[in-house]
Symmetry: C2
Subunit: 334 residues, 2 copies
DNA sequence: GGCAGTTCTGCAACCGGTTGCACTATCGTG
DNA sequence: CACGATAGTGCAACCGGTTGCAGAACTGCC
């Protein structure tokens, strides 16, 4: 069979107890509730522990306390540039609360997401589900079991962090109006994305007086953006707002292929501000503060671990104007 | 104090034992060593377990077996586009071996990396350290304790996955030669990066007959790339190879600012192929196969858990030619 | 019919912590 | 000086699994 497991020969509280000539309980308390012991005892035990290189066994601790000191963050695709900053700041915030972070990548599949969650559930205190693809039912079921924080998913009664695009979207529309555009396109993202739904609504209501053409691009990707250009041209729009920056970048490439130059012939605005400064020309985009959302989600979850009260954090957005927007030219698109 | 912990009311083997009218040992064996039980018992117990929604408690299992079913991957910066694909494929491979993945982001700091590792060590079976900033000594110390796989760090005797840039770098130099460039620049990355050291060496040895100017850009970032353009111009080079794609993108922006057009006035080659297709013009780059490296690292670690034999996996690279390279023009740079 | 050999199952100890409770000094007070 | 309060420590049970060992039931064979 498998080679007989030789346990890691870790130092246990038993060893310390023996070396310090106290009981195991005392060793345990020296770390968890020092106020119950005399200061000398605490010092002594801790000194011995340090000398022996003691590191508490998390599994054993978890077993008796029911606390694991771990949380999990699940994302649909860590390779999508929206998520790394989010995960990064989340892990950083978790670290300050001495929580370790499991990462799950569901590969955009609800099924895999459910599996990951089931696998992780027995060893985490709570979950952060970012842009979850799970059904509302499953999420509520999970949330009944343990603390769950959603990011960009709006389920009443479940703590969530929502990046509210309305501010930035409204500014975006206003800017285009001011620049004289009269017919604009919205390159819409996945139907089941809360962010897309919100952006759609805000855009159409803010765009009174403008003609708005909604073009579905499906899964937001570079290729999808590039391929949507023909539809954009057909729509007669002189400007577009895209579901995210990845799509925008595809659109930029597609426009270039057709010899349509940005921003003189066509204006483009992205969302999320993940790549914005990196495109050529630099993309005007609605900042989404993924990093802020990560921190907020971590804090919310940490707070939730102490006091299970539902809450909703909203993060405001604003427009970052760069080089892909300009006044509409006379001939508009040729 | 803290609200008295109400343990998660999870189903335990005790509950199943009672419901199935067998002992706890039998329940345990139904999952871990079914060959010891009669097939009917196994079926029966499993059926009951499923009906009750049993999920094994990982902490308890870990306590008695010493196996956690978790691994950790530590990266310097998950927001750097090289790492997400790596982490993604690593987690996917780990999943098939039923291992859960902890993610640590050291924020480019050796100290934080050490802290993360200490925090995670008591609950993981092994580590994948990607582009570790840790001292050789600390890494060896850790590796003595438990399985460690390094990515892009070359420590003799420690299992590691190395992305070998020599193939792609050589092709890159050959291409530039063929295009008639005679003076090229290398935009060098962090001194303590193994990848950078390797690229430097390969480049200088492959570039016999060419003048090579090494320009240090320090921490590889968009801004660093953009700001290095003046040094490039000063060097008189007509082409450059950059440490990574992020730097390249910065260089593209910097060149544009100066009105130097790519590739007609200047040729540029990146490394890692992380953003390559997304730039304008699309970047010629040395593919690094971060995703492949992630899978390889996971497999190596999994193998290492069974059979602790040091191994080294090397991943070959090649050049992907896109639109930022062209024959040198007469006037070269103005 | 008796006995050795298998196959299956249960008992009980153990992994390494935590914690309710009991016990013993020690102290302050009347 | 007696007595209750309080502080400090230890005992032992418990968390939820795993596993060595022993015993029961069944088989086959002499």
């Amino acid at each position: 069979m498998s080679p007989r497991l030789q346990r890691a020969p870790g130092v246990t509280i038993g060893d310390i107890a023996a070396a310090a000539r106290v009981s195991r309980s005392t060793v345990s308390r020296a770390f968890t509730r020092p106020q119950l012991l005399s200061p000398e005892t605490v010092d002594h035990v801790r000194a011995v522990a340090t000398r022996l290189g003691y590191v508490g066994n998390q599994a054993a601790r978890a077993l008796s306390t029911g606390r694991f000191g771990n949380i999990a963050v699940v994302v649909p695709d860590i390779a999508n540039p929206f998520f790394p900053p989010l995960v990064r700041s989340l892990q950083s915030a978790a670290e300050t609360a001495d929580l370790a972070v499991f990462l799950g990548d569901s590969d955009e599949s609800a099924e895999r997401e459910a599996k990951l969650i089931a696998r992780l559930a027995p060893q985490v205190e709570g979950f952060v589900l970012a842009s979850s693809r799970l059904s509302e039912e499953l999420i509520r079921e999970l949330a009944a079991t343990r603390p769950v924080v959603l990011v960009n998913r709006d389920l009443d009664g479940i703590p969530r962090v929502l990046i509210d695009s309305s501010g930035g979207m409204t500014e975006a529309v206003m800017l285009l109006k001011k620049l004289g555009h009269q017919r604009i396109a919205y390159l819409a993202g996945p139907r089941d994305s809360w962010s897309d739904q919100q952006r759609r609504e805000v855009l159409t209501s803010a765009a009174s007086g403008l003609a708005v053409e909604v073009i579905e691009v499906g899964r937001p990707s570079y290729a999808a953006g590039r391929d949507s250009v023909s539809a954009i041209v057909r729509s007669g729009a002189t400007a577009a707002i895209a579901f995210d920056d990845v799509v925008s970048q595809g659109v930029l490439a597609g426009l270039e292929l057709r010899g349509i130059s940005v921003p003189s012939d066509f204006s483009l605005i992205g969302c999320d501000d993940t790549l914005a400064a990196l495109t050529t020309p630099a993309l005007t985009s609605v900042s989404a503060g993924a990093a802020t959302a990560g921190t907020a989600a971590a804090k919310l979850l940490i707070q939730l671990l102490e006091d299970p009260t539902a809450e909703c954090v909203t993060i405001a957005t604003h427009l970052v104007i760069r080089a892909t927007t300009a006044a509409v030219t006379d001939g508009a698109m040729r």
